[in-house]
């Protein structure tokens, strides 16, 4: 491509996101699709290497291109899927979200990555707050609070790291001092790692049908990218990944809300990638990157089919859904393809990517991780592969009035479904583009038969245990209980004396100044929750402060 066109892939998305809210209806739809399409073209055609453009340096290599490709593809699919909704801010926020993810994975220096990191949080908040869900406001605020905190943790690490003289290029970071541990902690928060995994299932399912598609792709996989770039080969990541894998399965098994099931399974799938980063061999890194690519597509597809169901029926709980295969055959077919891909069924993308990670564990003779990853592969089929399509499209026919999804949604789902099958049938082109370009035969007969046995008998377990899996109208407590219940209760208890003192002063000074109590109330967590705007303002300031510190440290 001509050098004049060597532009950052995030640029069209940034321009698109800024333009969408002010464009007239028809033009808005055109731009919402053209922007990610242009980004995709840039990602595909930019030459490999460090590219100087518009005063910044992009790093395009196999690792960044795999992630960038997946982000751009799902951005395009999500935009087409959401064509009916472009009036809302959520597509603009979604494009900005994808753009931020692209900026993060093509960044060569930490500062660019950090700014992209913060924009991911801001754009996610925009997407969440443009949702119609009554819970989206609170969920968005909690999401933002956590990620502003995560960004601060990352910044502390980067500043410490910068003090040792390498605050420039993003490179491998040995875990040999507080700086790298702080950075790792900040990255792991975004990856959905324990103990803060709860944010994934708390926030994503409250976004609009198209908004969730964007969100599900970006934040966690950007974090996986940084792990693969900087922290490979650290054993601690193997165990963190394994924890995430089983956390996702157990919580998804207990969950009733279809989009929360899929959100828990994001943590589960990212667990496989984190584990791959921990194993750290060339095969494992290629596997984790490839799995991220495949995952972004099939998770987007699953959330699109769930979103289509939500849009048509207005329902999202397994206890209210079922039997939709007759009314929504296209959505059912695409959702099932996504479900098979996430289960790594042969002939899907999941099979040719996840096998790289498990094979890497096998090659390194890591017995415990291998046995656990294999059990988890069976568990994926259980909690997402069968559970989601079964309870939504089959199980009990609840006589829901439903029609097939709108045409743009059908096209988007069909295209992504194709993207989940093609690499499964013809894996070589994908494998050749992974870091290290591994030559790997996923369809080697011994592995194929073993994996089929594993999955099919996991399926048997599902249907044998079906009476025990019948959903109930429940949610499952997680660590977010600490800040949604315990924290506010404690703060309320402790702020009691303050409020009393304030009231006392008010009583003395007179009714003319109720000032003290009203000034103190935003400082309590529960007060902040009730006053979302105040809370957002505080957080906005915090974020701005982080950016200023970041910029100052750079010039220093």
């Amino acid at each position: 491509m001509p050098e004049a066109l060597h532009l950052p892939p995030w640029l069209p998305l940034l321009i698109g996101a800024l333009a969408l809210p002010v464009l007239p209806d028809l033009l808005r739809r055109v731009v919402s699709v053209l922007a990610p399409a242009a980004a995709l073209a840039l990602v595909v055609f930019l030459p490999t290497g460090d590219i100087e453009t518009l005063g910044i340096v992009l790093r395009i290599d196999a690792l960044s291109r795999v992630f960038a490709c997946a982000f751009a593809l799902i951005g395009l699919a999500g935009a087409v899927f959401g064509l009916g909704r472009t009036k809302s801010f959520d597509v603009a926020g979604g494009l900005l979200n994808v753009g931020s993810a692209l900026a993060a994975v093509t960044a060569r220096d930490w500062l660019t990555l950090f700014i992209a990191w913060e924009l991911l949080a801001v754009s996610s908040l925009i997407v969440l707050w443009s949702s119609d869900s009554p819970k989206a406001k609170g969920a968005g605020l909690r999401y933002f609070l956590l990620h502003a905190g995560g960004g601060a943790v990352l910044l502390v690490g980067l500043v410490l790291h910068g003090a040792s003289g390498s605050w420039g290029e993003i490179t491998t970071m040995p875990l040999d001092g507080p700086a790298s541990w702080w950075v790792l902690a900040g990255v792991l928060i975004n990856a959905g790692a324990p103990p803060l995994s709860a944010w994934v299932a708390d926030a994503y399912p409250e976004a609009s049908p198209s908004g969730t598609v964007f969100l599900s792709a970006c934040t966690t996989k950007t974090a996986v990218y940084v792990l693969l770039r900087c922290f490979t080969g650290n054993d601690v990541l193997i165990w963190i990944g394994l924890w995430m894998v089983f956390y996702g399965i157990v919580y998804a098994l207990l969950e009733n809300d279809m989009r929360r099931i899929l959100a828990y399974s994001i943590v589960n799938q990212v667990g496989f990638m984190v584990c791959g980063a921990g194993i750290g061999t060339e095969l494992a890194i290629a596997g984790a990157a490839g799995h991220a690519f495949a995952h972004i597509l099939y998770k987007g597809l699953l959330l699109m089919s769930a979103g289509a169901v939500l849009e048509v029926t207005g329902k999202r709980k397994c206890t209210e859904l079922g039997g939709l295969w007759r009314a929504m055959p296209w959505t059912m077919t695409c959702g099932t393809i996504g479900a098979l891909a996430i289960s790594a069924f042969p002939l899907t993308s999941g099979f040719v990517t996840k096998s790289l990670v498990t094979s890497a564990a096998e090659k390194q003779q890591l017995a415990v991780p291998w046995f656990l990853l294999t059990a988890a592969s069976a568990g994926v089929f259980l909690h997402a592969g069968i559970k989601f399509p079964w309870f939504v499209f089959f199980h009990r026919d609840r006589g829901l009035k439903a029609t097939e999804a709108a045409w743009p949604a059908r096209i988007a789902m069909g295209a992504v479904a194709l993207g989940c099958i093609l690499p499964g049938i013809w894996a070589a082109p994908l494998h050749a583009r992974l870091p290290g370009a591994p030559t790997y035969h996923a369809y080697e007969s011994g592995h194929l038969v073993a994996h089929l046995q594993l999955l099919l008998f996991a399926g048997l377990a599902f249907f044998v245990a079906l009476p025990f899996l019948e959903r109930t109208r429940t949610l499952t407590l997680d660590t977010d209980w600490l800040w949604r219940r315990l924290g506010p209760a404690v703060v309320d208890a402790f702020s009691g004396p303050w409020r009393l003192a304030g009231q006392g002063v008010d009583a003395v000074v007179g009714a003319g100044s109720k000032t003290l109590t009203s000034w103190l109330s935003p400082l309590t967590v529960s007060g902040m929750g009730r006053r979302l705007e105040t809370g957002a303002l505080w957080l906005g300031l915090l974020l701005l402060l982080q950016l200023v510190i970041g910029l100052m440290t750079r010039s220093a």
């Binding site: 406001k137 609170g138 969920a139 089983f246 399965i249 157990v250 098994l253 207990l254 809300d257 709980k317 096998e362 003779q365 291998w370 294999t374 059990a375 069976a378 568990g379 259980l382 199980h395 009990r396 007969s445 011994g446 592995h447 038969v449 073993a450 089929l452 046995q453 594993l454 999955l455 099919l456 008998f457 996991a458 399926g459 048997l460 377990a461 599902f462 249907f463 044998v464 245990a465 079906l466 009476p467 025990f468 899996l469 019948e470 959903r471 109930t472 109208r473 429940t474 949610l475 499952t476 407590l477 997680d478 949604r484 219940r485 506010p488 967590v525 529960s526 929750g529 009730r530 979302l532």
Partner: protein, 85 residues
């Protein structure tokens, strides 16, 4: 929770179980025609992956149910405080 008590269990048609049985058998028979991995103990034993898949899934379901007894709450648990705090 009321759903679970009031609705009869879903009964799967006979043909479903028939197809399942055929697929399971095929995957087991396939074992005799391929070269097995033997990195870890058990991998080259007939039916290992089938048993492992089935049993670990049963264990995961049982484990989830047990954990659920402790940490599951009605799904309006967090709604009590009005505007979600």
């Amino acid at each position: 929770m009321s759903d679970k008590q009031s609705l009869p269990p879903v009964k799967l048609p006979r043909v479903f179980w028939l197809v399942t049985a055929v697929l399971l058998t095929l995957s087991l028979v396939g074992w005799f025609f391929v070269k097995h991995h033997d990195t870890f103990p058990g991998q080259n034993v007939f039916g290992f992956d089938a048993a492992y898949g089935f049993l670990t899934c049963v264990a995961m379901i049982a484990g989830a149910k047990l954990l659920g007894k402790v940490i599951q709450r009605p799904d309006d648990y967090y709604d009590a405080g009005g505007e979600d705090a």
